[in-house]
Amino acid sequence: MKNTLRQIFHSPKFMTGFVIFVVILLTLFFYPLFNPGNPLEMIGVGTFAKPGTYVSLYDALNTSRETLRLSDADDNRLAKQLKAEDRVAMLEWFNAMGIAVDFDISDTDALLKLWDDNYDPATKPKGMTMAKRNYYKRLNNALLQLKAADEIVLADVNAETKALEETGKVNKTDYVNVGQVANVKLLPLGTDNFGRDVLKELVSATGTSIIIGLIAGAVATIIGLTFGLLAGYLGGIADDLIMFITNVFTVIPGFVLLILISYSIGQDQRGASVVALVIGLTSWTWTARSVRSQVISLRNRDHVNLSKLSGHSLFRIIMTDILPYIASYVVMAFILQVSSGILSEAQLSLLGLGPKTTEVPTLGLMMNWAMLYSAHTNGSWWAYFPVILTITLISFSLNLMNTGLDQVFNPTLRD
């Protein structure tokens, strides 16, 4: 036993999977401590805010300023202002005018210099529409303004005169310390379609999904194990009957059954645990079949015969002479069932048949939301890609652990 444990923890495959899984579990435990609160709270009003650090503009204006004269500030400002499509448009203009561009358009300095030297609002390149020419005029004005204006005037409405009165100015050289701004919000994975913090939601969803996987795996393993043990050990009519039920469940595609049951339960009744139970109830056949075949080969071993000759009861023979021999196998089956339970939940939720949407997030629900609000078409990768990555990691780590265990328990697979 001790030796087996030693082998398990020396198996590189098992250890890789185990470490990944433990890291995931630790994150689930510690992240909410640092970032408490309801994961489903809608903090953003718009949809799909990009990942990044958000600084409150209001608080920034009211924070004491320092003057910093940075030589590259203008350049940076221009570079940030000049979007990728503007650069492409400028290149198009140069091409239309027959001016050679022998540098990379990401080089802001060179691009602007060439623009300043050559652009004239009066020229009409051949074949260019009025609208396009106006676009270039606006672009040019914006660039000029950015270079010319030194300050932004802050004004407020005077309560008596109802006129705007200058209350202050913000200079180009004014800076505030981010640490002194009262409200800064870090959103490492942005927000989703409802304006919720994706990372916080993801951590909470991973926890729920793992619990769903565990419940589904436990239910499937217990049912499969009981049926497999009884069918394999008793044989005869009991075997035929149990295998008939198992075959019926096997021929009906499990996923279709899952969809039908989930649909008939109805949206209101579907909590996370109900979904887990349904997944467990439809995925036990594989375990039952494999446990049965293992038990049949064990049943004819001499130690079982000797145990019978010693007058032991059926229950005792199953518990002491059969179950310990297939325990490692059952553990491996359980791990696989957990992994497939998590995947089933994701599939089910993606179709909109997952748990109720208002209570808890699950990995599948997050995918569902991202899909419904077209995150994949409008480029909001942060709403679905981290979810896919998490599902992959969990199922990868569980399968790695399973393969590692298999190599330890099944000597023919050792290399």
């Binding site: 130690h303 019978k308 000759l309 310990p324």
Partner: protein
């Protein structure tokens, strides 16, 4: 033909028309076909047959691990009744077994003490004081030349094949059944340790007056150890009688072929009679 030397002893186990058919309809396969036998008290009987002759099926029926399709088995002269678990338990007080493969005969998750304690419990010694139990286990182990003190808290797989088979005999020593069914107990053991096991079986028979049913494919071994020999072919007994009669003067063609095909030392082994 019967072994005359044992005909006055009381019958221990006998059978009339014992048959086992596996499957039904077109797939019916008769493994044991209407066999009659009489095993007397204290007799050592060998059932010799090649693989597929049905000897293992017969042994499982004798043990009550397989049901009998047709015919009846008599235990101590009375029809055997193993219709429920209580009666089965009673029957198994009277008949026990040693199997071929010592490595699969033990539950590898149970310690050796558990195996032996189980036997004491089965003989109704559940409430004996601990010292008494240890004394009994020590006695059983010393009977088979094992030291109980060295075996406690060990697992069966830490022993060699020969030691495991000896432990099986210690188990029989504790159970003291009327009949011991030994199913090829030495076929997985090296020839040079075989004598130890055989000697212990013989000694055990003399000590507790047990009937031993010895199942084997090795006709030389059967000849060495047994009083009576039953030769089995395709589920039927083709010849039976005292060991000397059957082996030295075989009557049935099958027995003659079997004996002539075994390589020998003093007599020539005639390869020209093949096929």
């Amino acid at each position: 033909m019967k072994n005359e030397a044992f005909k006055d002893r009381p019958l221990c186990l006998s059978g009339k028309g014992v048959t086992k058919v596996f499957g039904y309809g077109n797939k019916a396969n008769t493994a044991v076909d209407h066999v009659d036998f009489e095993f007397h008290e204290g007799e050592l009987v060998s059932i010799v047959g090649e693989s597929g002759s049905g000897k293992t099926t017969l042994s499982k029926m004798l043990l009550g691990l397989l049901s009998v399709t047709e015919g009846e088995i008599f235990f101590q002269g009375k029809p055997r009744d193993i219709s429920n678990r209580k009666k089965k338990k009673e029957y198994w007080q009277g008949i026990q077994a040693i199997f071929q493969d010592p490595f699969s005969s033990f539950n590898v998750f149970n310690k050796i003490d558990t195996v032996l304690l189980d036997c004491i419990n089965m003989r109704g010694g559940k409430h004996l004081p601990k010292e008494k139990k240890i004394e009994m286990m020590t006695e059983a182990c010393s009977f088979v030349n094992l030291k109980f003190a060295e075996l406690t808290n060990k697992y069966p797989f830490e022993l060699s094949g020969g030691q495991m088979q000896r432990l099986m005999i210690a188990r029989i020593f504790l159970l003291k059944p009327k009949i011991l069914l030994a199913d090829e107990p030495t076929s997985m053991i090296d020839a040079c340790s075989r004598a130890t096991i055989l000697d212990m079986l013989l000694q055990l028979r003399d000590e507790i007056g047990m009937t031993i049913i010895f199942i084997t494919h090795d006709i030389g071994l059967a000849y060495y150890i047994s009083d009576s020999v039953y030769i089995m072919e395709h589920g039927k007994f083709v010849e039976s009688g005292s060991a000397d009669d059957v082996i030295l003067n075989p009557k049935a063609a099958y027995t003659k072929r079997l004996i002539s095909d075994v390589p020998k030392i003093h007599e020539p082994w005639d390869l020209s009679t093949v096929g």
